[in-house]
């Protein structure tokens, strides 16, 4: 039986990194995710698995260390919170351009600017629509529990290497700070040099005589070559959209009303669905687990039989735009959100739902 431990989402990220054979973590402290590096420093994985843990002098350095490690085919990662991730965006774009696998954890807090240190989902557009400049996409996965935080590290690296693409675990202050039961799976060793050469033949692992040298770069001064490359990238994104969409449904079988929510908001919406169901109102919830690729088809399918839908987010309706695109006008789509680090309660969501649907 898997070992069950009580831990914060942030601690789960750190422990999972060690237990899933991650080669390196580079970061810079920022609330509400500082426990990630704190836990790694406490666990001293360099003495056990050989994993490197380094506090860089800034987020810019951290992401470029990740670039360097990833270029060598290593499983490397970083974590930060909103303002820190903004600093990393240049590096994220470079990694998308150089097709480098990595995992970046963003434990969102209220913004803009330095904002607050309380939970938020205000960086949906920033992370899901790109992450950096230049028409690129991150693969974005959104945990809703400490167990997800634990599981998504390994899943994130799997996706990152499968598609040679940065993966962002888009969490929030609630998921980072909350402690829950986490089931730990057996340890995975770090990849050997042999395994890296096999799994990442593009990596700069030293040039053998039988192949040409590998180049890792995001620079191309020829527009035709750049255009060709961008087409290749977008064909990859299309493949990701085809194969990797993940979502969960709660009480949707007979639902007439549907909430859409991700991360901690989906947990609160689950409770709101329970309240509405106890009053005889047939509500359900769709939680996108992958934000890119977004579950367009599934939302469209469900929208066909809904009286209305409502997107519930800790922002001013960023995912709601994607939901509306997916719904294609089949039913009205409302929105309710809180901002700046404030969080709605299930009762508040129920009240807003009733207001939107004119239910007394």
């Amino acid at each position: 039986m898997a070992e069950k431990v009580l831990m914060k989402g942030n601690e789960a990220i750190a422990i999972s990194a060690i237990r899933n054979g991650v080669d390196g973590y580079f970061g810079y402290p920022i609330t509400p995710q500082s426990e990630v590096m704190e836990t790694l420093m406490k666990e001293k994985p360099w003495e056990t698995t050989g994993m490197v843990v380094l506090q860089a002098e800034s987020e810019v350095s951290s992401i470029n260390m990740v670039y360097g490690g990833a270029s060598c085919g290593k499983k490397v990662m970083t974590s930060s919170s909103s303002p820190g991730v903004s600093l990393m965006c240049e590096g994220i774009s470079y990694m998308a351009g150089a097709e480098l696998p990595c995992v970046i954890v963003d434990v969102m807090r209220g913004g803009p600017g330095l904002g607050t240190i309380q939970p938020s989902q205000g960086d949906y557009n920033q992370i899901v629509k790109g992450g950096g400049h230049g028409d690129d996409h991150n693969i974005v996965i959104a945990p809703a529990s400490a167990q997800d935080m634990y599981d998504f590290v390994d899943w994130g690296f799997e996706l990152a290497f499968k598609y040679r693409n940065p993966v962002v675990i888009l969490a929030d202050g609630v998921i980072g700070q909350m402690m829950e039961k986490v089931e730990m799976h057996p340890m995975k060793p770090r990849m050997t040099d042999e395994e890296i050469r096999e799994k990442a033949p593009w990596a700069t692992t030293g040039k053998p005589s039988w192949r040409n040298y590998n180049i890792i770069t995001s620079l191309s001064l020829d527009s035709d070559i750049q255009e060709e490359f961008n087409r290749k990238l977008h064909a990859k994104y299309a493949l990701i959209e085809e194969n990797e969409v993940k979502y969960s449904e709660y009480m949707t079988e007979d639902a007439e009303y549907l909430f859409t929510a991700f991360g901690c908001s989906s947990r609160i919406c689950e409770a709101a669905v329970d309240i509405l169901r106890s009053e005889g109102i047939r509500a359900g919830l769709l939680r996108p687990i992958t934000l890119f690729p977004f579950p367009h088809k599934e939302i469209k399918r469900l929208a066909a039989r809904m009286k209305s839908m409502m997107s519930i987010e800790l922002n001013f309706g960023q995912m709601a735009e994607d939901v509306r695109l997916a719904v294609e006008g089949q039913c009205p789509v409302g929105f309710y959100g809180r901002q700046g680090g404030n969080i709605f309660t299930p009762e508040e969501v129920v009240a807003e739902f009733k207001k939107f649907n004119n239910i007394q």
């Binding site: 069950k4 431990v5 009580l6 609330t31 509400p32 607050t116 240190i117 309380q118 202050g173 609630v174 700070q177 909350m178 402690m179 829950e180 039961k181 901690c264 947990r267 609160i268 689950e270 409770a271 709101a272 329970d274 969080i343 309660t345 299930p346 009762e347």
Partner: protein
Amino acid sequence: MKEEIIIAGFGGQGVLSMGKILAYSAIMQDMEVTWMPSYGPEMRGGTANVCVIISDKKIGSPIVTKYDTAIVLNQQSLDKFENAVKPGGLLIYDPSGITREPVRKDIRICRIDAITYAAELGNAKVYNMVVLGAFLKIHPIVKSGNVKKGLEKSIPARYGNLIELNSSAILKGMENVETVNEI
């Protein structure tokens, strides 16, 4: 079964670790838990609180506004959470932390003079365990064997000698909790 508990007091009183030990004890009997702290600059010397939810089913929202139990260790927390206890619920307070007695008549109210009992045990740091004992006496939602296991999991091995002291503090709280208002 689902129990939503708010534990609130000053930073340093052991509010967060009391919640953690309670949550760990519940995991030891295979229940679901969430432990959601208030976090932020207000924690430094100011108020600290943690919401612990224990349930035999998967827990949806970790954020709630009404509680089955409120454990309040200072006046600010009593002011903030007395009215957040569900009718028929439980309020536990430390009389030395407050200047105004709770007034609700529709909830069970208990007091535990934890500072005195912690002093009797010779270590003020076990204050929070005395309070935990008081709560577990009224609401034995976790078995005492599992509380011991929870303590073992929560306390670093190098402080293993403190498990006994913490256990006796829990016992002290159980023996000395007084009910001041029955419903």
